[in-house]
């Protein structure tokens, strides 16, 4: 895989591994991200401010007073050659989901579109192998890949307003747990008491990119008991 380096304004480089999403590409992105993070401070390329792993690329922002595109690209290329040593086993997390109809606004529509019963949609969702591919859009939106083909539905043509925080939403092969009351064009199939935004300065967000996630079904009374107290997967 030969990544492409693209300069962005006066303060970033976009390192693109592929134009299409696949497991191999994402594994390379996670390894590259970890290689940058684990660099000893002496070996770390100077001037880096933020590293943002995404679906097919990694954005690296930098201080233009300290470094420039060409110097940082050279340093990052060197790191790329060593990423193999940095592969880590992914962390496994469990996230609880209540599929009660009072939360699953789009269960009917998804079931109809997929020609499945509600129960079959739930089981298909529980059967997926999910991986956190990136955070995006707004704080704490962790985009997970792994939604099974049988329940893949496209985004709605128009977004629906005021979908509550904690909603479990799907579109195409992706799934996420919302953290804010926001509009979304994705299908709402449940609600999770699991908090993604943690009130912990040392670990403010639940997931790391690359984490593997399993969903666990809970009933409404368990949801209500848990949503009173914060739970982390």
């Amino acid at each position: 895989m030969k990544p492409r380096f693209t300069p962005v304004a006066d303060f970033a480089i976009l390192v693109t591994f592929s134009d299409e999403i696949n497991d191999e590409v994402h594994a390379a992105i996670v390894a590259f991200d970890q290689a940058i993070a684990q660099c000893s401070s002496a070996a770390s390329p100077s001037g880096i401010i933020e590293v943002v792993p995404a679906l097919v690329n990694v954005m690296v922002t930098f201080d233009p007073v300290v470094t420039d595109h060409a110097r940082l690209e050279a340093a990052l290329r060197k790191l790329l050659n060593n990423t193999a040593q940095h592969q880590q086993n992914p962390y496994k997390r469990t996230v609880q989901v209540c599929y009660d109809e009072s939360f699953a606004f789009d269960m009917d529509a998804v079931a109809k579109a997929c020609k499945l019963t509600h129960e079959a949609v739930v089981n298909a969702h529980l059967a997926g192998n999910y991986k956190v591919l990136m955070y995006g859009f707004v704080p704490g939106y962790a985009y997970m890949g792994g939604v099974g083909k049988s329940i893949q539905v496209p985004r709605k043509t128009a977004a629906v307003r005021d979908i509550p925080a904690g909603s479990v939403i799907i579109a195409g092969g992706q799934c996420l747990i919302t953290t804010l009351k926001m509009p979304t064009g994705w299908s709402v199939i449940g609600r999770s008491p699991t908090q993604v935004l943690l009130d912990d300065p040392d670990r403010p967000f639940l997931f790391d990119v690359g984490d593997e996630v399993t969903f666990e079904r809970i009933d409404l009374s368990t949801y209500e008991a848990l949503s009173g107290s914060k739970t982390n997967g």
Binding site: P7, A9, D10, F11, L14, T16, A54, F137, P139, P201
Partner: protein
């Protein structure tokens, strides 16, 4: 010293508390937020002798009216060209003044500019999120919106008479309506005529303008094909083009990823100029090389720190000011002779 209590008699939409921004969580979907115009924000704090990044109020076109209920505090207003009314007198923006009990301060839209900063000689009480008071407008996290009937409390409020008076405005920002951009990172998704159109046409800002970004109006930018690119990271200054070929410049509270291609990215210095424009104001994009962009960033950084150093010198009373000017011109002369 003590607290100053400021009653918010009126606050327009999009008036928020901001510090310098929470850099470092972009990978978790968190834009840095912070001031739309970083230069004006820094100037307001510098003019008071505050540590850089001290929490200030970002005033929108909607304006802000405060009444000092108790205590006294010196404040600075900088950014755009707003109209200030204080204790019966009317001045233009870029001013340090002292607000005492019973006095009103009104900051209203003036002849130009979209954002002004009200900084305090003291610490305004504000919620923090991830260590910063910067308000992320989409979520409301951080210090939050300043709203009518709220009270702002400034702790350790000080009166700094020696800082009162006009704040010199920055002279190093471009004012020709040309926004310098580095093309890409997804310019290869556009037809050649779109790149030409982008670089040779004027665009005007529309009313779809908030802290997340501003939609532009102008030549249509056709994409190479009906495409859906994987969602990619976005930065402040990204010029994202929707499926209909309409560009939007993403700003302080930008979404952190998006599936629309980014034709170009405005350089960091020029976003400070762009945000002060208003709807229907026109801009042109000027493509520069990444190397030129770095040169500009370094010059900008130096110009900004020189400017802030100058603004942060207390004026003192008249006699002190005269003495200072003599001393400074003396130093300049000796350097020139040397």
């Amino acid at each position: 010293m003590g607290d100053a209590r400021l009653a918010v008699q009126f606050a327009g939409a999009l008036v928020t508390l901001q510090d310098s921004g929470r850099v470092g969580h972009l990978r978790y979907g968190v834009a840095a937020s912070g001031p739309m115009d970083r230069v004006a924000f820094a100037a307001a704090n510098a003019a008071l002798g505050n540590p850089s990044g001290t929490t200030a109020v970002e005033v929108s076109l909607g304006g802000l009216i405060l009444e000092c209920k108790s205590g006294a505090v010196t404040v600075a207003v900088a950014g755009g060209d707003f109209t200030i009314e204080h204790a019966g007198s009317k001045t233009s923006g870029w001013m340090v003044l002292t607000l005492t009990q019973g006095e009103r301060l009104s900051i209203r839209v003036g002849t130009s500019g979209s954002w002004a900063y009200l900084a305090f000689a003291g610490d305004v009480v504000a919620n923090k999120w991830l260590g910063h008071t910067a308000t992320h407008s989409t979520s409301g996290f951080g210090g939050g919106a300043v709203v009518t009937d709220q009270q702002l409390i400034v702790e350790r409020a000080e009166v700094r008479e020696e800082r009162e008076g006009q704040i010199e405005q920055p002279g190093f920002l471009p004012h020709n309506g040309r926004m310098r951009v580095v093309m890409g990172p997804q310019d290869n998704w556009f037809r050649a005529e779109a790149i030409t159109a982008f670089n040779n046409n004027r665009y005007s800002l529309t009313d779809s303008y908030d802290r997340m970004g501003v939609r532009l109006q102008g030549a249509h930018l056709p994409l190479d094909s009906a495409l859906s690119i994987p969602s990619e990271p976005i930065v402040r200054g990204s010029v994202q083009v929707s499926g209909e070929g309409v560009p939007t410049v993403l700003l302080a509270d930008h979404q952190t990823t998006g599936g629309y291609p980014k034709i170009a990215t405005v350089i960091s210095a020029d976003t400070n100029v762009l945000v002060q424009l208003r709807s229907r104001d026109e801009i042109e994009f000027e493509a520069i090389t990444p190397v030129a962009a770095i040169d500009i960033a370094r010059r900008f950084s130096q110009d900004l720190s020189d400017y802030l150093a100058q603004v942060s010198v207390p004026r003192g009373n008249l006699q002190q000011r005269l003495m200072q000017e003599n001393l400074i011109s003396g130093v300049v002369n000796s350097i020139e002779e040397f």
